[in-house]
Amino acid sequence: MLRTALRNVFAHKARLVMTALAITLGVAFVSGTLVFGDTVTQALRGASAKNLKDVAVSVQASSRRNPDSEADDARSTALTSDLADKVRAVPGVTSVHPTVNGTATLAAKDGRPLNADNNWQNLATNYSPDTPDTDRDSRFPVSAGRGPTASGEIALDRRTAEKAGYAIGDSVRFATQGPTLTKKLVGTVNTDDPRVTAGGSLALFDTSTAQQLFLQAGRFDELAVGSAPGTDNQELTSKIRALLPAEGITVTSGAQLGYEQAERIAENTKELTRMLLAFAGTALFVGVFVIANTFTMLIAQRSRETALLRAVGASRRQVVRAVLTEAGLLGLGASAAGIVLGIGIATATRPVLNASGAGLPNGPLVVSTDALVRSLLVGVGVTVLAAWLPSRKAAKVAPIEALTTVDQTPPRRSMVLRNSLGGLLTGVGVLTMLYVSTQKNGADTNLKTAGLGSVLALTGMIVIAPLLSRPLIRLAGAVTTRLFGVSGKLAKENALRNPRRTAATASALMIGLTLITGLSVTGSSMNAALKAAAVGGLTADYKVSNTGFVGIDPALGAKVAEVPGVAESAPVASSTLGARGKFAALTAADPQQLGRVSDLKFSSGSLADIGPGKVALSDKLAKDTGLSKGDTFQGTLGFGHDKKELTVVGVYQQTRAVGGAIGTMDDVLPYADGGKLDSILVKAASDRNTSGLDQDIRRALGNSPLLQVQNQEQLTKAQSGQIDAMLNMMYGLLGMTVVIGVFGVVNTLAMSVFERTREIGLLRAIGLDNRGVKQMVRLESVVISLFGAALGIGTGIFLAWACGSLTKSSLSQYEIVLPWARLGLFLLLGLAIGVLAAVWPARRAARPNMLRAINAQ
């Protein structure tokens, strides 16, 4: 029977092309993900090993507040120069690099901040020569100039210097956590630190400068200890550990550190791989429909052959086995091709991601046997599994069918069972989702219920799709008949002819479009909510803030007000307010100033009533605490235990622009983080063209690279940009699923055309021209595709609506927003898929020789 199976595979090459492509793409996705994951893991491990290769022992100190400094945020550690010297004296130790770690955000030569939004990536550390008698730090190989040795000097990594436009000798402007500083660039170095290669920057100072900027004179964050070849580093670690105070200091061997980093890296990439595999799984799931449909059609077309095999003595089981073997062979071939394609994809992914700034380190392509075997197993397994149900049908072919001379349309099997099951599944799914829509938070159980409900509803839709196909396709067919006459009518009748086939084909498209629609609706709703949250209640034109989480000096508030073109400015600070056991963000501002840059809706009292000891509460906090206008309570300010008697003078509608309570600056500022402002809200004069005002404000405030001056649009974009980027990535990943769905449509049409050769011949004989035949096939394709798209879009909207409420707790402004333009685009995509998928089958349909068609009796 193996030979029969093999012969069948080759005999139906053309008809299996689409199925093979579907499997190939799915497997390529899987193997590409696995290979890419392995490659990136190894490259990251390599990079981390390279970073640690000279570190025999790492001594790390935890930071604590500096008791000698007045500043709240001054850091210190237990690691002193004396301790460093002690370590240096341990036998076997060849080098000790004491390091100080901080961040410094640079301004480019033209003044714009560099990577200010991700300033945790903007590393700053000390350049510490390997030994006192050299000026070389082997961790940072100098590419030009030299390392910094004096307090007025700075070195940058080569790429950062290029990006910022600085040349050696230039004055580099940067900000650490405090004021803006300027130092002279004396050299550039190379680094492989993944944070830097991923878009960050690296600034180097001499040790005492670094200590002064980030820590405390004579203190260090870390010692990187090098050892002579042949030293037992484990023993060295123990020795050093014994030497140092235990409190606030951890001593780890370089090997252990490397292992921990590698574990972390593997965990991170595994996370990514898992997510990609989920998408690959979706693609393969859609592939199942294509495969199952193909085998169902092949077996129907071959029933006479099968009957003959049965008549000459093949058992049912042999017939089933032959079909499954055929599927296995197909799966094997297609998977092998898929693996090759997958390796190609994995190779191409890194440069593509790096071009968009992912900063993945270089390294060889890792193709593990494990990944190959798994991809192959998945491909073959999915194919055989998908062919299993159709193979049962082959076994049911009776030997007597070999003797009938005329093709009989197989008796229509009852779909009562299928429809009932589909109805049940859909019903339970929809009910579950309706329940989910009443839940108001994203608790784990709710998420699981939502997931289960979505899967049930979608599965139900797949099962019930044949039932839905009749009325929906009739409707679409009425339109095609009206527009395209007889071709449209024949297309409708053909699409209605085999509801199972039509439904399976449409389902493959439906799944992809359900996911895409669901994500789009959720994304656009979240965008709208974030937008509302970002600027709701705000009438200011600009928000001035600091990206370094260190706040703004209160003195700067007055400076902003003096900038020509600024009509109003309101310095805002924030702290927390505890009232009757509830906590809320507390906003501090001058009530009059705040009134001019915001639009708060008071249900009682007004902004003007706020004064010393008098606060306004948001409606939410008022409700939670039971306080209302006129009440007096003991409020806890900040995170300490300071209590103050406060009187409620007004209640306003909650918005994101301000916190849950508003008080005066004098009351609140002492409790604000670091005694600093949170932001300054600015309104431009109405007669001033706002272009360039943000630059004027920046300059007035010293143009620190950490300073952020955002207009309303930028404020919303900062929130919604991430969602858009995420959506685009999802579209890309789900695109594969849709493509496989398209293969399904092509496949069904091509096979239908093959089955209907004689019908088409008859149509041609009695006068339907080639154009009409093509039109007929194309319209059938469009009708099926639109059916799938409509089901998918509808299901996607419903699921997104039902899940929407789960974000209520974290995103109170969430309301479903249908992205009509985008949904319209998806429907159009369905139409385009229909037209596109029909190109090849239509050409085939128009080709067959009429005579052969008619004479094939």
Binding site: V406, T409, G485, V486, K489, L490, E493, N494, L496, R497, R758, E759, L762, L763, R764, A765, I766, G767, L768, D769, N770, G772, M850, L851, I854, N855, Q857
Partner: protein, 261 residues
């Protein structure tokens, strides 16, 4: 059955000239060693308003002749004309239009589209052409072939004979210049077969329809006004006002000739 009270007879039905004409018609398949001459210089006229049967043993070229005359297959050399139209001068689109407007077909099997009702099948050529059927004529045709009660049935709900009656009705409904029937009774029992042949003959007698039928059944050929005999791609003989015995007799002569030569 009576067909007198039918719709007015189209003008071209009554003229005595040929409805279709083959002149030196050759059809060659393949090349070199596999070359097969299916038709070898056949010249023949199909009279307007006549019922002509083409007979011959298997492989004699009778079906090929019909396909060439109907514009279903191309001609190697020579000429095939329907009315005054030379088929070899037409491109695919023009041929399609000619078949749609001027030719009717009845095939041995698979004559109907399974997705359409009987009525939709009958009016299909007109639907393709975007023409409205002449309702009066349609009623006449449908009543004649006895399908009035079954117009909304799908082919699968009809017997073989009924299906073939739908096919005959389809061919007649658009009043084509010529109808080609290829073994129209091949798949039918003798009673249904003679019914179909009766319809075809009556449409010629009563309405002046031109019909060319390919058959190997002498009894079927006896319904025709004239039988032409084909052997090895050549026209060998013809018989006017044939009877089944006469046709059978003539066929036996061929067999004898073939054996003795």
């Amino acid at each position: 059955m009576s067909m007198q009270a039918a719709a007015p007879v189209p003008a071209h039905f009554s003229t005595g000239s040929a409805a279709a004409r083959a002149t030196g018609l050759c059809k060659v398949y393949g090349q070199g060693e596999t070359r097969i001459v299916a038709l070898d210089s056949v010249s023949l006229e199909f009279g307007r308003g006549r019922f002509t049967a083409i007979m011959g043993p298997s492989g004699s070229g009778k079906s090929t002749l019909m396909h060439c005359m109907a514009g279903l297959d191309s001609v190697s050399t020579g000429s095939a004309q329907i009315g005054d139209t030379e088929l070899s001068s037409l491109n695919d689109r023009q041929l399609t239009r000619l078949r749609r407007d001027s030719v009717g077909f009845v095939f041995q099997a698979f004559n109907l589209l399974p997705t359409l009702t009987a009525l939709e099948n009958i009016t299909l050529p007109m639907a393709i052409a975007g023409r409205r059927p002449d309702q009066q004529w349609l009623d006449t045709v449908v009543a004649t072939v006895g399908l009035s009660g079954r117009l909304s049935h799908r082919p699968a709900q009809l017997s073989g004979g009924q299906q073939q009656r739908v096919a005959v009705a389809r061919a007649l409904a658009s009043r084509p210049e010529i109808i080609f029937a290829d073994e129209p009774t091949g798949n039918l029992d003798s009673r249904s077969g003679s019914e179909i042949l009766g319809f075809l003959r009556d449409s010629v007698r009563e309405w002046g329809q031109t019909i060319v039928m390919v058959t190997h059944d002498p009894a079927a050929a006896a319904y025709a006004d004239r039988v032409v005999f084909l052997a090895d791609g050549r026209l060998t003989d013809e018989l006017l006002a044939p009877t089944a015995e006469g046709v059978l007799d003539r066929m036996r002569q061929f067999d004898t000739k073939a054996r003795t030569s």
